[in-house]
Amino acid sequence: MKMLAALFVAVALISPAFAQKTNPQFTQAISKLHIVAPAAKPLLLYTGKHLTPDDKKQFLAAVIKTAPASARKHPASPEKASTITLSTSQFSQGNAYFVMNSPFFADIAHNNIYFAGGDAGAINFIIHAQPNTAYYLAITIHSDASNPQFTISTIDDNGKHINPENFTGSTGENEFAYGIVSNSAGDMAVTISSTNALWQFYSCVITSSTF
């Protein structure tokens, strides 16, 4: 009987976790892209403060170091880095755009995009990646909740979350960075959701640097 009860609890706990990872429309959209896997495990940076230029410079260098040694022919030059910004009023720019799974509320004309915690709400950034390039996403979000929990991960061509990274944000505005290295041409998808908090998307600045 105890085992049966434990089994029920396990099913109850696992079920919502699985449900968060499926959105048929997004899975269908992903299947039409040419998704490539990152060349190495992505890195997350969250300091609990706004990221400084020095934070960003060091983080970009750390991201590039994750690339396979054979791919690193020469060090990245900061002056070669290019930057684009996606926001509540800029849905696509250059080689990147974003789509949303089940936002709780979207008044796009007034820059209000909210996601609920605990359901399938997620924002997904799609980047048309180039080989031997590091991508650095500086993402700004807001939550009025205390201890909001966020998850960021890449997505494979079946819509599955790969290498999820979790962090606990603070009440108010949160800026964090996610770094990925690509060693081939194709699309990379990065997704963000919260397990427990209503949150608002502000912007995502994507910096790319070839190496």
Partner: protein, 213 residues
């Protein structure tokens, strides 16, 4: 063993539903303050593409319905059906002039590729927010596209927290164009919302025409 499996599935489904329900945040923060239409709105669905004549007649009917409510001796509206303003909203052109779109719990949003998809639920709805003018009739011609299951839609004024004047209609295969006419007799925010309880659906566009009288 079958009963045990069924029980496990039931627990899984209930648990997921409960998890979603428990975490829907309070919407007070983003609540709008709509005004009521001056008369009961009118719905038109002919199962064919709507003609300009259909639109003119619907607007005339909406204004007549408003006039019928006026007290004896009140100045009757002068109908001039030359459209004052006509705009078309789409997922990628979600705001023009005095009208913009708001989405409650859509299933999927891809503005770059012109796509708003909604779930089959009253809480998954599209809302038009109109900065309405007095003595003005608004005509909304919607095009939608069902994705799954049925083809029944509900349209009403107000938001999903306080719906008014709900009207239902069933679309016809391959042609889900319909019109809704609302009269305003004061300045304020007019809300028109649409959902489907029986099909996932895509919003294609909405033509908004206003006529003063």
């Amino acid at each position: 063993m079958k009963m045990l499996t069924a029980l496990l599935v039931a627990v899984a489904l209930i648990s997921h539903a409960f998890a979603q329900k428990m975490t829907v945040p309070p919407p007070q923060k983003i609540k709008l303050h709509p005004m009521a239409p001056a008369a009961k709105p009118l719905l038109l669905h002919t199962a064919k593409p709507l003609t300009q004549n259909d639109k003119n007649q619907l607007l005339a009917s909406a204004i007549k319905a408003y006039a019928a409510k006026l007290p004896a001796g009140a100045m009757m509206p002068q109908m001039n059906l030359a459209p004052k303003n006509a705009i078309t909203l789409t997922p990628s052109h979600f705001s023009q002039d005095n009208v913009h779109l708001v989405l409650y719990n859509p299933a999927y949003v891809d503005i770059a590729n012109d796509m708003f998809q909604f779930s089959n639920s009253p809480t998954s709805s599209l809302m038009l927010v109109v900065n309405a003018q007095p003595n003005t009739a608004y005509y909304f011609a919607f095009k939608v596209s069902p994705v799954t299951g049925g083809n029944t839609y509900t349209i009403y004024t107000g938001d999903y927290l306080a719906p008014q004047f709900s009207e239902n209609f069933t679309g016809s295969q391959g042609n889900d164009e319909f019109a809704f006419a609302v009269v305003s007799n004061s300045s304020g925010t007019l809300l028109v919302s649409i959902y489907s309880a029986d099909t996932e659906w895509n919003f294609i566009n909405c033509e908004v025409t206003s006529v003063t009288f």
